[in-house]
């Protein structure tokens, strides 16, 4: 295995709504023998709300520069952070003028384009590899799982590391852990509605409901995902969606890092599985 140490970019929800994702990411990497060094004094990536590309590049030049000083590639469990880090990385690597302009703002933004930005899923499947993971997996997930990828893993093409229409890295990982993939391909890479949650919750709720409903009718025990905004919509807001749309869903939603942690034999509590909004206890009984 080539990966032994990575710079860790937790992202803003990591100490609140996505604390379970943060906990499970750290626990899994520890178990895999990969040291995570948190990016010292990291700042927000700009999320989906900063639309000006150059402002995004400047914000992320600082994060990339801090990791670069450590000589480490940067990894994040959040799909939006990944998109912003990687598109900034690509733009800054390709454009000397842009790099000079960004550096002109402050010397701490002096990034030389020497590192890679990665999403955790990419690291698990493509860098560490299924073979290596398989040797460390000690438990079988007797679970039917609906793998939900959302937006930024398979698109835009510039930063994507999975297929835009039929992504399958999570599928492969879940099958490796003994899980069964339910028919879910039409929902896999559809947006969860998250970006409209605060301004058009009527639309956002309908979009999320469609994904949750499909998983339920496909007979899934849970949805697995890899982004804290999707987690907020599908898990955190699930009870609000049920109330607003007069439906009953009750679909557990877990981060892929939590599932991987279970397969690696890590204690459920250490993976934050008591913190998911929809109860996950029933899932635990199916991990043997």
């Amino acid at each position: 295995m080539s990966v032994t140490k990575l710079a860790y970019y937790p992202g803003c929800p990591s100490d609140a709504t996505a604390i379970d994702q943060d906990m499970s990411t750290k626990a899994v990497f520890e178990k895999l023998g990969v040291e995570l060094v948190e990016v010292e004094d990291w700042n927000c990536c700009g999320a989906a709300e900063v639309e000006d590309p150059e402002l995004v590049y400047a914000l992320n030049a600082r994060n990339l520069a801090i990791a670069e000083k450590e000589g480490l590639d940067i990894v994040t469990p959040c799909s939006i952070c990944y998109y912003n880090l990687e598109r900034s990385n690509i733009a800054l690597k390709a454009d000397d003028k842009l790099r000079a302009k960004v550096k002109g703002i402050d010397s701490s933004l002096d990034y030389n384009g020497k590192i890679n930005a990665k999403h955790v899923l990419d690291v698990f499947v493509n860098d560490i590899g299924l073979e290596e993971l398989s040797s460390k997996i000690s438990k079988k997930l007797n679970l039917k799982v609906a793998p939900y990828y959302g937006c930024y893993l398979g698109r835009p093409p510039e930063t994507a590391f999975d297929d835009p229409d039929d992504p399958d890295l999570m599928d492969k990982l879940i099958e490796l852990m003994g899980g069964e993939i339910v028919p879910f391909s039409q929902m896999k890479s559809l947006c969860c509605g998250g970006p409209l949650m605060m301004t058009r919750s009527d639309i956002a709720f309908e979009m999320a409901r469609k994904i949750l409903d499909t998983a339920k009718s496909a007979g899934a025990d849970c949805i697995a995902l890899a982004c804290p905004l999707c987690g907020m919509m599908l898990d955190g807001k699930q009870a609000d969606i049920e109330k607003a749309l007069h439906v009953e869903i009750d679909m557990p939603v877990v981060y892929i890092t939590q599932l991987l942690g279970l397969a690696l034999g890590i204690d459920a509590k250490e993976l934050g599985l008591d913190k998911n909004a929809v109860d996950t206890k029933e899932l635990l009984g199916k991990v043997v």
Binding site: C12, P13, D15, A16, T17, I19, D20, D41, W42, N43, C44, G46, A47, A48, E49, V50, E51, D52, P53, E54, L55, A58, L59, R62, G104, I105, D106, S108, L109, C151, Y152, G154, R155, P156, P157, A160, P164, L190, C191, G193, P195, L196, M198, T199, R200, S201, I203, E206, M207, G236, K237, A239, D240, K243, D274, K275, N276, A277
Partner: protein, 198 residues
């Protein structure tokens, strides 16, 4: 009907000079963006192809005041599928930024609370370097509702149950009441000062 005397022949250059808008003229109107867009199911009038065509024609006011600009999910489906690499998601972002500037100058009215939300979000980053959820809500809701009291009522309605749920699960404790700050706040000020959307 298009009133040719009201068209702004410089509009396409204006968009192309905005970061993200550079690829506008590569569009050949195939509609792939619109056919694949997930929001059209909920907002049938939503049509990025048409927004691009109107922009190319110079229908500046109609484009900038179109409320559909603000229901884009930035999900990148259009960008991924566009055969001409128009980078529609970034392009629409560029048009939205021009619209925001025009609205701030009092030249158009935007029928959406999205600009208020995006600005409130950016203010958190400028002030703290990281997202402060409560600060965001405290700026967004009163501005959206037009008064502090109405804003707080709307916030309670949306977040009372959610907040309790998060609190019970240990996701939002007393710590979440206060902003998580970046130590080097001076650099955040500089970034927004130099690159920020004025």
């Amino acid at each position: 009907m298009i009133k040719t005397w009201e068209l702004d022949p410089n509009f396409k250059e204006e968009i192309m000079n905005e970061r993200g808008g550079e690829h506008l003229t590569a569009c050949f109107q195939c509609s792939t963006c619109t056919i694949g867009c997930p929001i059209t199911e909920y907002v049938p009038s939503y049509n990025p192809r048409k927004i691009i065509q109107m922009s190319l024609l110079g229908m500046r006011k109609e484009v900038l005041s179109n409320p559909d600009l603000w229901v884009c999910l930035i999900c990148q489906t259009c960008t991924a599928r566009c055969p001409q690499d128009v980078q529609i998601s970034d392009l629409l972002g560029a048009i939205r930024r021009i619209a925001e500037k025009e609205a701030e100058a009092g030249n158009i009215k935007i029928d959406s609370s999205r600009p208020i939300f995006d600005k409130a979000f950016q203010h958190q980053l400028e002030k703290y370097g990281r997202l402060y959820d409560i600060g965001l809500a405290k700026e967004y809701y009163p501005k959206r509702e037009g008064s502090f009291f109405k804003g707080m009522m709307a916030m309670m309605k949306d977040y009372k149950d959610f907040g309790m749920r998060m609190f019970k699960k240990g996701k939002m404790g007393p710590k979440a009441m206060f902003p998580e700050k970046v130590k080097d706040l001076a650099v955040m000020k500089k970034i927004f000062g130099e690159m920020g959307e004025k």
